[in-house]
Symmetry: C2
Subunit: 480 residues, 2 copies
């Protein structure tokens, strides 16, 4: 069988003894295996199934694969999902609601598997996940104008294979923009265009920098996973109200920080800590990775400049348009200390220059024509309004829930009463509100306290849908 | 020193005992190390330096890094490069022409290194490298029209994070186009958008497919290197006039072929071989990777359909717009057997969906509006004319040099008299003609004969520059 040599990590689930095989991909295989385990009585009614994350780790599949398989089986009546009690085998499941369905063959008979699972209704009713801007606000007209000028003015070689560093027009535009808007000190020759922060990490590790890498004890699990894939160990730095405790940097020679707006907890790195981490880098030959993911969006005052401005030879400044414009463009940049430029280009060259040259040229024009500033100003206004509305709504309807962090960015953290995060997250799933608990972002080796909270992305819904999303959010918060 | 923990493979050059360290990147370090080795007398006048490729492999740097360092030192007078005798230490080099220059410090004194090497004149005078279309022919107006319609019609979610499979509009358009133009049998759900062939390989190996992978004994070294990086062993299949000897497939469970137009030698895979490799895949549970890199460009007859059409469950069909439109768009696709779709999406999801959604939408419109067909027809006409002109020019001026392969694609192989390839390649360097020798494409473990030849990309020059490029080409060919 062809499957035998497919490297798909078809291991046996540690606890459930699930075997993922047969046609139709891993989600279908997992759904089938779970269904069979219930049908055969190996999993008895009332049994609690492992959390998505654990089963996903056991089986070596994506969390979404597990989530989808569970959802499928809930829909078929084999499993139940109830707030506060996780996913369980449904009662009386030897004759579930779905018994008459084509999937529910008589015991002993081989389960007949549908060739194609009909697509389920997708997506939550209210999307309050962090990480993306309001897609309905993309400045279509202004972007098209930039496309037009870019296509008219581009030299012919722009349509050739291209330079791994990125288009010179864009590097020029960014050098000026980043100096003006973020206090970044650079010249175009030290900017390398990439597809976003994750791409930057992949270019840097392990071929330009080596681990271990100190990281803030809260951050994106996706980045930690990506570093783990590159065999880079991440060491969590504790956080307090002034940001990461950079005094506790140990033997690491690199640290990843979100100085403008700690992700996701929401504080800025204190000026003394900024100075201290630069001192550390100078004294120890260390390098600081600055993830400036939402630095343009500060609502209470003018944004603090980038850490990079303090010492361009010690900081790799990384940004993108994913929050300010759209993640669909897949455009980001690294501003590099001079000693890293050649090596990064060597690695990038070998791996192809990913970002579309036409989008690069359009972005260069978009910045230089002032459209980027106008768009950022407009969105700053809008997101500020949304944050204010979130704060006001909670003050009125859930005064025991505190909005923490500075007035900045595209998300806020709601601090919850101790012990209530998990049930709030489950209530959200139940109510069709997509959001994440704060625990989701905690480094597994973090040692400091783990407060309960929800991370609410207020930028994601379209303007007209935001009110309903806030109402739904209030409904999933723990009672006073 | 910060450099100590930078993972830059700063090994000692095996023969030259070069140490790459100090400021300014690897090219600067290599230049400095070589200059110092000559200056100190460790390398005596007349010594032949290793070929780019060998020294690059020894030092773990890119070939271009070595090439640039050599060129720099030739320009400074420390080295000489002569046709037929490689790069050597210049005679009388203890007082080279550059002796008075700031780099040539007195023996014993530390070499003063310029902060920035002034940029050298870049690029050859005539570019006949294979692999890229005529960048001056990019259909700017039609593409802008597609951008406009795409931006007007895109749903809001197109500006959100996106689906790793790619935009549905583009997959729909491609399914119809590939069926019509290339005989591919598929539906949109089995198409996954990627950034081009190299990206497809990276997605497939080693996480969806495992090596060893059989490959044609001539192919792109870049692809072999990329596979080697993923720890995939490639096993060369001999070629004859009917294409790869697929009967010699051994224990491999996957084979990479260029059935429409063997790259670079230029023959199509014979119908019997096409059938035989499908039989092999069915009997052995094998999979065929079809690199359809220039399938649309056949000049003597209608293109033969894709191999994939013979058995969509056994062939992964891979294509891109890099030859037909522009490599600057970074847009390609995989047409997958059903059993691979979920796994590829899982791998792709983890690695981000790279291709710009706006370019994907524009391409969908470009295809559906008929602009793609019109552009391909126009370019087919143009490249056909160029190939005819190449054949006619050689017939007149170098009748001993044969143009081999079918009338197709964007390149041709010129068969040279035995033993003349290397000197022709060197003559080309000397004359500012960029092209590659056939040996460049040979699998290092290939066992069949290694004919002498040049691979000439006739698509790369702009239309007005093609005549001069052909003249220059004739000048570097070996005499009759």
């Amino acid at each position: 069988m062809a499957e035998s040599w497919v490297n798909s990590a078809e291991r046996i689930g540690a606890d459930l003894h699930l075997e993922l095989s047969g046609p139709g991909g891993r989600r279908a295989a997992l759904t089938r295996a779970l269904r069979e385990a219930v049908r055969s009585g190996r999993l008895v009614p009332g049994t609690r199934l492992p959390p998505y994350r654990s089963l996903a780790a056991d089986l070596g599949v994506a969390r979404n694969t597990v989530a989808d398989a569970y959802a499928e089986l809930v829909a078929e009546g084999w499993l139940t999902a109830r707030q506060g009690s996780g996913t369980r085998v449904a009662p009386g499941v030897t004759t579930p609601q779905g018994r008459q369905r084509r999937d529910a063959a008589a015991p002993g008979a081989p389960a007949r598997v549908p060739k194609k699972v009909p697509p389920r209704a997708r997506g939550p009713r209210h999307d309050l996940r962090q990480g993306t801007p309001d897609a309905s606000s993309f400045p279509r007209t202004a972007w098209l104008a930039s496309c037009r000028r870019a296509l008219q003015q581009a030299p012919n070689e722009a349509f050739g294979p291209g330079d791994p560093a990125g288009r010179p027009e864009l590097r020029q535009a960014l050098a000026a923009y980043l100096a003006r808007a973020r206090g970044v000190r650079t010249e175009p020759g030290r900017i390398v265009i990439c597809s976003g922060f994750a791409h930057a990490l992949r270019l840097l590790f392990p071929r330009v920098l080596r681990g271990p890498l100190a990281v803030e004890s809260y951050g994106l699990g996706f980045h930690r996973d990506l570093l783990a894939d590159a065999s880079v160990r991440t060491v969590p730095l504790p956080l307090d109200e002034d940001g990461a405790l950079v005094d506790e940097l140990g033997r690491e020679r690199a640290v990843l920080l979100t100085p403008a707006h700690q992700f996701p907890t929401g504080g800025p790195l204190h000026a003394e800590r900024r100075a201290a981490v630069i001192d550390w880098a100078r004294a120890r030959g260390g390098v600081i990775l600055e993830d400036d993911y939402d630095g343009e969006f500060r609502y209470d005052r003018k944004p603090v400049g980038a850490l990079q401005g303090l010492d361009p030879e010690r900081v790799i400044h990384i940004g993108s348009v994913s929050k300010s414009l759209s993640p669909a463009l897949r455009l980001g940049w690294m501003v590099l200390p001079e000693r890293f430029v050649d090596r990064v280009l060597e690695v990038k060259g070998e791996r192809e220059a990913w970002a579309s040259a036409l989008d690069q040229l359009s972005l260069a024009d978009f910045i230089e024509s002032g459209s980027y500033d106008r768009h950022v100003r407009r969105m700053r206004q809008r997101y500020r309004g949304r944050r204010d509305r979130l704060v006001a709504t909670l003050a009125a309807r859930a005064p025991h829930v505190e909005v923490t962090g500075i007035a900045a960015g595209l998300h806020a953290v709601l601090r919850l009463p101790p012990g209530t995060e998990q049930s709030a997250v489950k209530a959200a799933v139940w109510q069709g509100v997509a959001l994440d608990g704060l625990a989701e972002f905690r480094h597994p080796e973090a040692v400091t306290s783990a407060p309960d909270g929800l991370v609410v992305g207020y930028a994601t819904p379209a303007e007209h849908a935001y009110g309903a999303a806030l109402d739904a959010l209030c409904d999933v918060l723990p009672p006073c």
